[in-house]
Amino acid sequence: MKLAGATDLEIDSALTLNQAGVGCDLRIEGVTGPGCERLRAMGFCEELRVRKLSSGRNLLCSLCGTRVALSRELADQVLVKMAG
């Protein structure tokens, strides 16, 4: 059986963008799932800062100063941590 590495555990403890609270400043930990290629192309990449601005059917966030609207399904594929 493959043992989980330190990075895997770190990702496991991360929130999804969907779960994070509105107004929080976050740092992207990982992007996983079927929409990850599109998300990465849009700029959702590891280490970048993101602020969640609203939640709902589509949520709004500010990614490096740019406002991006994305569906809840996509937001579930973005793993984040509170920015230090």
Partner: protein
């Protein structure tokens, strides 16, 4: 210097959506391509030429925006094909100018690295430098250039700042091929690019530690609010309909006076006869009846131009996503559908930004049901007649709003059914949209765009509508009847005979042969209906055009069936309005749909379906209304 000088090289402008490629293209070439403040304004390759300060003539291609060189939608594929030389009749560019938003380099540089990897000579245009500096970014273009190994030109294309420096940088020999150090020893190219870009931004584009509250944030607090956002949205559209009815009357008055003066002058200088009748009844009555609506059509284009230019259009798409989902579409379909209120052709072309192929087909199919500006003249003729009022009132604006709502609701209902029948996409797509910062409208480009629209509208009035008006006048005048009775003359004319043939088809809808003929002529272009009605109902020129249109309404109100029943009952007028809401009477739209869907079957199927729906809907309204005693 001669404009016929040979082109030295072809350069391509590439960048993320909304990086300002088209603004830069216009600044370089002096052209007037449409500029918007939302992604997907450019959906095909546009080209132009300009001279460098060294006297070389360069050809420049403006490519659709893309986030990466892995194309996800048809417009992105066009950009990728242009870079690889896969576009038909378009050679591979000699140089690529990557246009990047200076305040978003973390995101925009990813594409620039991919372009460098293609092995094409490359240059980075660091656009919107003013906004980046206002946001507190500390930019170091020299350091960027050093690290990337390509020339970097800071600029503000909208104000022309840096355009000369960019032209100077495009000197020969072209920049040498840059190396790709981020790829050496890398196993995952994407990860390697990401970490290189992050390091680069740390070095040459440092952000302030605290996020600043911008005025875009403050405006969005209202514009995207679950309650106030919808209130703003509704208020804006009601204002538009009010403006179309009330504000447009001022410039319409000027056109009316001009036409009346020409009509009077013709009457005084020409002897009575066929030629005078041709000029006054055929040309002035026909063409004038359509040109009259130019201010209202331009107001609609101005409004849409303002929404695009300020950045509100993307917010509207965000707000509408939930509503569009009920029709099986996403918020991305809102932009093409909304553009179709002005004209279905750019609307159909704008569907290229939609990722899902099936959603795109459905959007193309229903786009012509968003009432376009060519239908406005017909609505504006009939609605005041229906309400027994002079032009310009709140009641008329509300009826007009209802007509637009009917077309829109029907489009959504059909989209829902069709989307369900086409089944799910092989790859599930989700809504994701960049909301650009609010910007001051680029009045120069909006003005030029409006001038272009006015030019093409007048050109159509001077060619197609003029030709059809003359043809209709001839058909309704010849062969001549010996007597003086105008109705006997019309019945004897070729048009009277055509009307008799058409009448059995349109009679169940409440129209007589003349109205049926006018509807038939408007299959070339909808606005021809008004000209045809003016000619077929023999309306004389009055002192001013509003009075002329009033006379046409009086004629229509007084028109009767042979048995003496009034022809234009409220029921018949509603039936006529409903017919115009649904019928696809625009041959250029059919051609564009065939091109964009890649299928003539789809386009002709759409034409047949919409014509059938128009007939059936009018039939149900008229016959149902009669059965109910109206």
């Amino acid at each position: 210097m001669s404009n016929a000088a040979a082109v030295s090289a072809t350069i391509a402008l590439i960048g993320n959506p909304n990086a300002g490629k088209t603004t830069l293209f216009n600044a370089l070439t002096g052209e007037n391509q449409r500029v918007g403040n939302f992604s997907g304004v450019t959906v095909e390759v546009k080209s132009g030429t300009f001279f460098t300060p060294h006297g070389r003539k360069l050809r420049v291609l403006d490519l659709p925006g893309c986030y990466s060189l892995r194309a996800n939608s048809p417009d992105e594929q066009v950009a990728v094909d242009a870079l690889t030389g896969a576009l038909p009749d378009e050679p591979r560019p000699d140089l690529v100018v990557c246009v990047a938003d200076a305040s978003n380099l973390e995101r925009h540089l990813q594409l620039a690295l991919q372009v460098i990897e293609t092995g094409l000579p490359c240059l980075l245009a660091l656009n919107m430098i003013d906004a980046a500096e206002r946001a507190g970014l500390r930019l170091d273009p020299e350091k960027l250039s050093e690290e990337l190994g390509i020339p970097v030109v800071p600029m503000q294309a909208s104000s022309g700042k840096g355009v000369l420096e960019l032209k100077q940088a495009l000197r020969f020999p072209l920049p040498h091929l840059a190396e790709t150090p981020w790829l050496s020893h890398a196993t995952d190219a994407d990860a390697a690019r990401r970490s290189f870009v992050l390091r680069l931004c740390e070095l040459a584009a440092r952000r302030p530690t605290e996020d600043q509250i911008t005025w875009t944030d403050r405006v969005d607090g209202v514009a995207l609010h679950p309650l106030w956002g919808w209130a703003c949205f509704g208020a804006m559209f009601l204002t538009l309909f009010w403006a179309i009815f009330s504000l447009a009357r001022i410039p319409m008055g000027w056109i009316e006076s001009g036409q009346a003066a020409i009509g009077k002058w013709l009457e005084t200088v020409m002897a009575e006869g066929d030629l005078r009748s041709l000029l006054i009844d055929g040309v002035l009555g026909g063409v004038g009846g359509v040109v009259m609506f130019l201010p209202q059509i331009l107001l609609l284009f101005l409004f849409i131009g303002l929404l695009e230019s300020t950045g509100y259009m993307a917010r509207a798409a965000f707000l509408m996503d939930g509503l569009m989902a009920r029709a099986g579409l996403s918020g991305k379909a809102f932009l093409p559908l909304f553009s179709s209120y002005a004209c279905a052709i750019p609307g159909v072309m704008a569907t290229r930004t939609i990722d899902s192929a099936k959603e795109r087909l459905v959007t193309i199919f229903v786009a012509p049901w968003m009432s376009c500006s060519a239908r406005l003249p017909v609505y504006l003729l009939i609605v005041p007649l229906l309400l027994h009022e002079n032009e310009g009132s709140w009641r008329q604006a509300l009826v007009l709003f209802g007509i637009y709502a009917l077309g829109t609701a029907s489009a959504f209902a059909v989209a829902r059914v069709l989307r369900g029948r086409l089944g799910p996409d092989p790859v599930h797509t989700h809504f994701m949209l960049e909301l650009p910062p609010y910007r001051v409208p680029q009045w120069r480009y909006i003005g030029r765009h409006l001038a272009d629209r006015a030019g093409s509208f007048l050109a159509q009035a001077g060619t197609l509508i003029l030709g059809l008006s003359i043809l209709l006048w001839a058909l309704s005048t010849y062969p001549k009847h010996p007597g003086d009775d105008p109705s006997a003359s019309l019945a004897h004319s070729a048009m009277g005979r055509i009307g008799n043939v058409i009448e059995p088809v349109v009679r169940p809808l409440g129209f007589d042969g003349r109205t049926g003929t006018a509807v038939l002529t408007s299959f070339a272009a909808r606005e021809v209906f008004n000209s045809s009605m003016a000619i077929l109902f023999r309306v004389d020129e009055a002192d001013d055009e509003q009075a002329t249109r009033g006379l046409l309404r009086d004629q229509l109100a007084a028109a009767t069936w042979p048995d003496g029943r009034p022809l234009f009952t409220p029921l018949a007028m509603i039936s006529l309005l409903v017919f115009y809401v649904y019928a696809l009477q625009c041959l250029p739209t059919v051609a564009v749909v065939a091109r964009e869907s890649g299928s003539w079957r789809w386009a002709l199927g759409q034409l047949a379906f919409m014509s059938a729906v128009a007939w059936v809907a009018s039939f149900i309204i008229y016959q149902g209304g009669r059965l109910l005693g109206f």
